[in-house]
Symmetry: C2
Subunit: 459 residues, 2 copies
Amino acid sequence: MIRFDFSGVTKELINERGISKEDINALSPIIKEAHDILSSRRERGEILFYDLPYAKDTINQVKDLAGDLSGKFKNIVHLGIGGSSLGPKAIFSALKDPFHNYVSSPRMFFLENIDPEYIASLLDNISAEETLFNVVSKSGATPETASQFMVVFDLLKTRLGKNYKDHLVFITDPKDGVLRRLASAHGIRSLPIPKEVGGRFSVLTPVGLLPAAMCSIDIDKLLDGAAKMADIVTSPDVFKNPAYMYACIHFIAFVKGINISVIMPYSNALYDLADWYRQLWAESLGKKTSLDNKDVFTGQTPVKALGATDQHSQIQLYMEGPFDKIINIITVKHYRKDIKIPAIFNDINELAYLGSKDMSELINAEASSIRAALIKNERPTTQIEIDTINGETIGALFMFFEVSTAFMGYLLKIDPFNQPGVELGKQLTFSLMGRPGFEDKVKMLKDSLKTVEYMHIEI
Amino acid sequence: MIRFDFSGVTKELINERGISKEDINALSPIIKEAHDILSSRRERGEILFYDLPYAKDTINQVKDLAGDLSGKFKNIVHLGIGGSSLGPKAIFSALKDPFHNYVSSPRMFFLENIDPEYIASLLDNISAEETLFNVVSKSGATPETASQFMVVFDLLKTRLGKNYKDHLVFITDPKDGVLRRLASAHGIRSLPIPKEVGGRFSVLTPVGLLPAAMCSIDIDKLLDGAAKMADIVTSPDVFKNPAYMYACIHFIAFVKGINISVIMPYSNALYDLADWYRQLWAESLGKKTSLDNKDVFTGQTPVKALGATDQHSQIQLYMEGPFDKIINIITVKHYRKDIKIPAIFNDINELAYLGSKDMSELINAEASSIRAALIKNERPTTQIEIDTINGETIGALFMFFEVSTAFMGYLLKIDPFNQPGVELGKQLTFSLMGRPGFEDKVKMLKDSLKTVEYMHIEI
């Protein structure tokens, strides 16, 4: 179903820049330590994402609600940002046809940003009568989602009167927060995000499952794939645990100065999964402070690239630039659709060799060639080959990357589950927007934004 | 109407991690050298991109052809990859409504990848009778575009008989290459890409201009903006030339170990422009060999991020991670549409402060807050503020980034206009696809892709 080939990071293939079996064995003590922390936190119920495939009650709630809503709406607009959006978007892109929104319903729109141009256009082009708004925020206070929700709430009340609440669903904290209180006060349908699951690990909670189910995606398959992967990636033996191995390789590379991790699927359908990974890796691992409270300023920068497209954009740099990257290529053995290149232009050298080949053969040849060329240039390269894109493999990949990331966090001796660095930006925003209690931040903001040097360009 | 504020990289704001005026003055000799190379190569006609706004003949050809094609097609499918696609896509996203394809025509599809699933779905969902295929490749031999073209050519001949050629346009080399020969042989309409303009600098040739004109974008405005910027960014004085300053700041940062350059527009419409920049910066600067033929393995990795969305994905890392990034924030003073957040929920603390504000105020407050917080955390940060997104500002940004990149190349003492590192991957692909003359590469490919047993996990 999924094959991990880490050969392209070994000394056997990339020489002195590579990793040896001894390098990995030498990590045994910290591997054991990281495994023990993860296992014991899981046992204590502090880390729940491993066990989401078994949350039967919640899964049934999702199915029931999706069933109730089925067939009633032409559009679903998803209000959420970061971990409240990247997971469901990754599922939608991976498992629905790329032209779904042009020809089928419910059409799915992920709002995410507070770009006024985009939001205004969306609202100009859909009718409230035909639309369900799914509001996803654990606290309900995230300013982006909150402001979108206020716009939508007002619009629905104006257009639909007392029927407004039939066009709203909340996915939020089971007990606390603004959305939970509003759900109770207004009788708005809602589903829970468990307290013990952080935003970026929440794809297999209702956050990812409800939108999937509403688009007729079989969520049992997603959960099955995740459960099967969870069984494998809990092994303490790094040579049998691909998630631990992925983390160890990245850890060794990072310690050697490789501060960039590229994820490069050869599939349009997986590009949003790469974006989901980008949050997971960046927000979990980018930390100032270690578990024992030292300043470490650690974290590897994830970069998403799309094969084969970015061969014509990024590969020059990956082949010849600094030795600062590890490149993780995701390939697909069997694409769900294929195209035969016709046997025409037989007398034209530059084209004839393509004739009679399948497009899938070409894209896979390119992926192999880029892997080989990167390895030849001594660039550490891994391959994750999935048999085909379906619910099971996507579910398995979610679990794989989640465990890899959590494990990498403990190898780095930081907390992969917090995000203290986003606080200051939020507080400054509150101060600028005049939220009571944040007045004292205005001065700090002004000091930081002093103009020292600028160029005004009149054109 | 662009303001470039680089206060956030100065020692005055980010202390010892910052850049001083002396640091920039110390670069005088290499600034002069880089300026002289650029100017003299431009005078000799070797670098043409500066002068594209004045190519009246070609511009008129573009307008004539766009006029001929106007109103005839429901869909335009753009076949091209890398520099043949990123520019036109950036223009389309910046200047057309985000819902254009849902409600207007011609609908615009950028094929780019050879993903068989995506191409098959596209062809299932458009009719050849209503579609123009715009094939963009300088040589015509790019395997991705060539294979797509073969599929489309065969499809058009089968469906439309002798009318097939009315549904094709080629943008290619003025004299040489497969597409040029086919254009002559079949009488297919075509436009030239000048020899002296490389793919990633070609957005203001017919590559970018024809798709724009076909979508009723005023290309004179794009060219005007670019011309006005070109006048400014040819000054030899770095303190009067924002493109040179952008390059110098990045050069000083890179020499100090900052190997990542983030570009982060606070606008959905500019995200594809960030992707265009990503190719420009990566492929121009990622080089193994210096101008005097030494191994340098240089190049800064560009990363695209979207404000405010990626505040909930990447900002934790940017704030607290290693000091390995310079962050370039693009802000928009006046959005083309706006949304008022209604004054509701006045009794709820977490929401009330948002009431009666414009969405544009919120997104701009977030951009300011993130800038301030990054600066507070001593992360080098620049701001490019544009008055509004329109043809002139987009044209100006293209020229700004092109000159910045070319200049940065000469500061690094590499050739920003070649891309030797992509050759090996291409040759290996040819060998795998059985193209005559490339048989000898197969062994190299097999050697590079050896599976090292202890790093191989099947599940």
